[in-house]
């Protein structure tokens, strides 16, 4: 007869946290920044079909690093939660704070339950307000805690180094082009300090734009508009002037190429 092997609770939790952190670190980092007219999501993503960022509700966006099938599940859960809440009450009653709470409870329960393996994901839930003061950004690490962030936030493998870089350089009231360029600079720094180039077609960029006339503020930035913003002589950075054409382009683009329904593939596996 063998006696059951004793593991102290501290050790068990530390092991689970280590496991989750390692999983998250394998994925590429992404950043979320406030700019004058809203919130911008920027990440390196070689896939055009499997998104890291997406719309949850009118003013709420979602970003995730880590294992694709796990955060995709959470994303759909969030969309269902938001839509059900908006249907039950009113569209105004769906808030990022409420959603972040539900996500935190979900991640926390899974993390501390011995029956399930901890999720290897780190989420960002952001809500754009009518003014920059009303913007909310929440970071949700794998263990179910909530961190209320301001200005800029980075999650994923190289997050610590990137957030330090961003904290030093991010300012309130940046234009979209400025914020986007800063984000790309931050993402292109490797752990050892060297820089590499990330071409525009490997970038996934989306905004929550408070100046958008539509009720739904989330929009992907792709193709010509993205190149123009990155090439930035400053003329193209007011999102309004290029909005319409780029939007038509973006819409038809997603319609034709998307098939997010695919399953099982993870961030890390595609990138290695």
């Amino acid at each position: 007869m063998s006696t059951p092997f004793y593991v102290s609770p501290q050790q068990a939790m530390a092991d689970r946290a280590e496991y989750a952190r390692k999983g998250i670190a394998r994925g590429r980092s992404l950043v979320v920044l406030q700019y004058a007219d809203g919130i911008v999501f920027v990440g390196e993503n070689p896939s055009r079909a499997l998104h890291k960022f997406s719309e949850i509700y009118d003013r709420i966006g979602f970003a995730a690093a880590g294992k694709y099938n796990e955060y995709e599940n959470l994303r759909i859960g969030g969309v269902r939660y938001a839509d059900l809440r908006g249907y039950t009450y009113d569209r105004d009653d769906v808030t990022a704070r409420g959603l972040a709470n539900v996500y935190a409870q979900t991640l926390g329960t899974i993390f501390s339950s011995n029956a399930e393996k901890p999720y290897e994901v780190e989420l960002v839930v952001a809500e754009v307000g009518t003014t920059p003061d009303g913007d909310q950004i929440y970071r949700l690490p794998h263990d179910g805690s909530i961190v209320d962030e301001h200005g800029s936030v980075a999650v994923g493998g190289n997050a610590e180094q990137i957030s330090t870089y961003l904290d030093q350089r991010h300012q309130d009231g940046m234009t979209l082009a400025e914020a986007l360029k800063l984000a790309v600079q931050a993402l292109s720094r490797d752990t050892n300090g060297s820089e590499r180039e990330i071409p525009a077609e490997r970038l996934e960029v989306a905004v929550l734009d408070r100046t958008r006339p539509q009720q739904r503020k989330f929009k992907r930035i792709v193709g010509r508009q993205l190149e123009r913003l990155l090439g930035g002589d400053g003329a193209a950075d007011t999102a309004a002037d290029s909005d319409d054409e780029a939007e038509a382009e973006a819409d038809s683009g997603t319609d034709a190429t998307d098939s997010t329904g695919s399953t099982g593939s993870t961030d890390s596996s595609e990138e290695s």
Partner: protein
């Protein structure tokens, strides 16, 4: 009941179960009592009195489709509401106009809008126009029990088909039967008169401006002969709701635009009360 009233506050398992991209499917598994079609009605004697919306018309033109509705809701012989809105955007490229029991119809539209938006968010792509029309069919069919008690909802669905690059119209019956209409269509109590007017005025080469005038003419003729349809109310500044769906997406005409169309029609009708005349041969 709400997602986070469960004991731990975490998302219930139904939320995290991979499966359908349909909000209605999700609802029918998770909270079936919230679906309009699942409600049990107590047995009643005769017909339930509730406000009814009336005439909706649609007409296609090269480059899009126009969907319009009058503003009256009636309950028996009483005008229940003078300024009800019965035409709604369903999503960026489609709209739905409703005739029938107003309360149920508005709820159906709300759920339909959500159904399309939910699919778009989950899948990252929009449904085809046919797919949208079929979803609406299912929703009408689920209301059949109510329809048999006199609480029918009969919508008209119009949209711009991005793949075929043209406007299309779908009409329905109470059992959810769907048929695509060519050129023009109408639903509701005044639809017979509106359809007659449109038949004489419709041409395949209408411009957008002519098409918007045509629908207001048709609604005027419907209001002329059907007491449940409201004509333009100049004194109260209540004009029909006119929407255009084209390559640029959904657009609702501003009140100034509809009032201008309605006023110019009124001015002509002062001389010719029956409206424009079609050629005999």
């Amino acid at each position: 009941m709400e997602a986070n009233t469960r004991s731990t506050g975490r998302l219930p398992a139904a939320f995290l179960t991979p499966g359908s991209s349909s909000f209605m499917d999700f609802l029918s598994e998770h909270q079936p009592e919230m679906l309009p079609g699942k409600r049990q009605l107590p047995p009643t004697q005769g017909v339930v009195e509730a406000p009814h919306g009336t005439t909706i018309v649609a007409v296609t033109f090269p480059g899009g489709v126009v969907l319009a509705g009058d503003r009256r809701a009636t309950m028996g012989n009483v005008i229940a509401q003078r300024d009800i809105e019965k035409v709604f955007p369903a999503d960026e490229y489609s709209a739905v106009g409703i005739a029938g029991t107003a309360g149920l119809a508005v709820e159906m539209v709300k759920l339909f809008q959500l159904e399309l938006e939910h699919f778009e968010k989950v899948e990252g792509a929009t449904l085809s126009l046919e797919g949208k029309a079929n979803r609406l069919s299912t929703m009408i069919r689920s209301n059949l029990g109510m329809a048999m008690q006199g609480l029918a909802v009969v919508p008209l669905f119009a949209g711009y088909d991005v793949d075929r690059a043209k406007g299309r119209i779908f009409s329905y019956d109470v059992t959810g039967g769907r048929s695509e209409e060519q050129g023009f269509a109408a639903t509701g109590s005044g639809s017979v008169f509106a359809r007659g007017a449109m038949k004489k005025l419709f041409r395949a080469d209408l411009t957008e401006e002519q098409a918007t005038t045509l629908v207001v003419q048709a609604l005027y003729d419907a209001a002329d002969d059907d007491s449940a349809t409201g004509g333009p109310d100049v004194a109260r500044r209540i004009y029909p709701i006119v929407t255009v769906i084209s390559e640029e997406g959904f657009r609702r005409l501003a009140e100034e635009e509809t009032s201008e169309i309605a006023r110019s029609i009124l001015a002509r009708r002062l001389e010719q009360p029956d409206g424009p005349r079609a050629a005999l041969l």
